[in-house]
Amino acid sequence: MFTVPELMVEFPEQLWLEFDRRERSAAWPNDGKYSYDAARWNAFLNRLCLTLVIPWLEEESGLAAKVWPSEADLPGIWEVVNGTAVALDKKRFVLIPSEALDIAEFCVPQEWVDIPSWAGDYYLAVQVNPDGGWLRVWGYATHEMLKSKGIYDELERCYCLRREDAIENLNVMWVAVEVGADERVPVKPLPVLSAMSAENLLAQLSRCSPYSPRLDVGFEQWGALLDSASWRQQLYKRRMLAVAGDVAKDVAPAPASTVVNLSQWFENVVEAGWQTIEELFGAPEVNLALRFRSPGSESGSPEAIANQIRHIYTTSDEGLLKIAAQRLGEIGKGYPQAVEALIYLLGKTTDEETRWAAAESLWKIDPGNPASGVRRVKDLGMQIAGHAVALMVAALPKAGGKLAILVRVYPLGGKTSLPPGLRLAVLDEQGDIFLEAQARDADECIQLKLGGTRGEWFSVKVGLEEVSVSETFVI
């Protein structure tokens, strides 16, 4: 085959570097540095690249190269993402190794492009051939080129540039640096995570997995987590602890599906992935079922409010009570008497419809009131045949230490209705269906109500045609 010197002559504008067996072995990470095989391999390729390319960067630029953010941070990055950033003065170069034999495309993980603190100026496409003992930087792209010409791959969350859209002449990069070219474009800021949502994410993403958890939550959340140095370090530490724990217990690394403990929600102990409504939907909008119908909560006249409150305290007609409760949710905001009346109704009614109408109104006019029980929502991602949906579970204490439970499915991703035919089912401890609902055309949500006592199990299944996801709960 071609020797490296032959290739250097044929591709003089690219960079070819050879390494020997010793350099190759030295790049292999120490035991205990990574929580799974693929991360170890990723670290190996990146280390090899870094060791060989840094002297070239320094020689070409005449500047000292500095690993970003620091040498100590590298394992935390390589545990979850491919790529290494190096700073030369004010410019950041991101090395992206690939072991592919062809150079038809250059793919850069989204983290290096869309996390504002991670973004670079220049991205080097590095082809590594570990057994062949060589690597080459076959071209580069700028931040702007990736954003404008790169094809975004949703499955991999990376920007892919076709070979012909990259620049193969590396001399051009140094001239661009020399003349002070501005090659970055602004990226959208990422949301600021609350400590609690970060905690939830960390709990979910720290579970042992034989692959990177980078695709397990939405990019905004993932990016926001990595954006913070301390959470990134936390993620790395916890993943390492998790695998150490697993090894100690000698348990298979595949994560067992967790059982959600509803009673503990009342003590604020919540499983990873279960967010508050505000966290998931980004606004303290409470009555999601009605959010598409009513343009916003109008406040009613004091007379109208007083009227509804009077109904609640006087009538025993469950039909009227339900209407009164719903009406207060729409017009009662800012009236403590309305809140009191709803709490009273929650304690008094034995009708499930009235109970949930009162709870929903309370969520709306006094979010966070302890009388309205607990309520969490989980983004099920696109697992249901590509439809983004969320599962909400709410629980209210009832007489006799029982819980009233509401499960509901909402559309996500900007949709206002669920895919027709979407099924929601509640299964008992034996796995038999005992409640089921199905979305029709233009249904904004579907829901089921049930009750239970402490220690009982049930599971909820959301599915469309052959695809479904399940969550198991214990009361």
Partner: protein, 485 residues
Amino acid sequence: MPVMSCYLPQSGKMGCERETSVRCTMCERQTLIDKFSTFAIVGERNGSLVVSRWVYQPALKRNMQGMVELDPEANENFWALHWLKEAVPLPLYPPAKWHLSAYLEKACYWTAVKICQQFSDKGFNPTDCFQIARDFAGNPAKLFANYDSRLSSVQTYAQMRLKSYLLDELRRGREAEKYSDWALLRALTKNSLENALKNCGFKESQIDPYRLAWRCFTEIYTPAAAEGSRKLQPPSAAQWEAIAGRYNQLRGQLKLEAEVSVKDLQNLLKTAVDAVRRQSKTSPASAGSLEELDPSMPGPGPLIYNDSREEDSPKFEWERVNSILSESFQSLPEEIRKMFELWLGLDFTQKEVAGLFCWEQEKFSKQMKRHGQVILTELLKELGKAEGNSKLGKKSKEIDKKGQLMKLWLEEHCQAPYEAFLASSFAKMKISVAGAKARLAEVRSSLREELKVYVESRLQISLSQLPQADKRLGDFVRDWSKFLE
């Protein structure tokens, strides 16, 4: 350099159904119509690639005939550019791509011949090389993605790109042979996997399961040591379970409804590897799938003359560039200028030039790069000033284009004195073109000797220590005297 050999087929034995065969008395195609409507049937003789004949595609021929009648004055490069514009970026006129493919057959042939010759010790199969080049030439959107008609002719540019592509493809193919199936899977790009499957007849809509299986495999299964990644062994049972589990977890994203077992997953990967391996073994050279051409193809659009120079006042820009570059080049150290003349002007290799000046090749290569960067930076700064841009906010893409312009300028500038010398030497011979044609070898040999003396005196070097010098100068003389062929 070999002459393109020809072979006259025995009469009556040319089994050619739809295509009409051209009797190949001359090896290069002579007329514009031939150049844009015939395809090569290639074979090998004594290990060299030969074009045994050129075959017409009748519809293309009719079409080209009509076109040439529209403008009998238009030259080869005009038509090449014309068809290129009709073919990319949008295929405005479907037959354009085929006219262009026919035209590029020559570039494919020479690329294959040159590579097989240059790397004769590697034992490449010339027919395979030709076919790989032809496959790539059949994708003008890729081949001409960064083409600038002001900088080079279609043929020259295609030949340069084809060479680099072919070298990479040969490297990839040889490398792939050393890989185990599992290692090969890890060494693919999404693009190469998809292409391999498509070449095996898979439809776009059928590719998703393979893509996802491959993705889950590479995401989870990696070599467990620094050495031996080429001979990667199959995953363990637990790893297979994990990969299949990951597939089933992600399949919703691609709307794949069927859950896969480990066995299913292995089958998907097996098919993918087979497709990739099959693609590495190229099919025998053929005249392409000309059958796809509709004989009743639509008439082409009107000829457009004024858009071949899209950019405003290129001549003005070229003059400015010329004066800036001349000045920067002149300010280089004398020794460096000499090196550029030998390297870019007379096409000596880096190693040869470095040797002549007793430099390490590495030092030479670095110095040339460094000076190239300095000249380019200077060019950008001066152009910026001229354009009234105090800010040098150029982007890489524009700098890359200026870099190509600079490289072309350097080549032309470094060749110019030697071409001028040959022209005057030829004139001094007082020999007619016809006379020179008759004694071509003799004329060339004499010009080469004169050139050698000139180079030695101009650059104040001795070429006697460099055995390859005669070959380089001979090639230079041959290229310059192409008009005598």
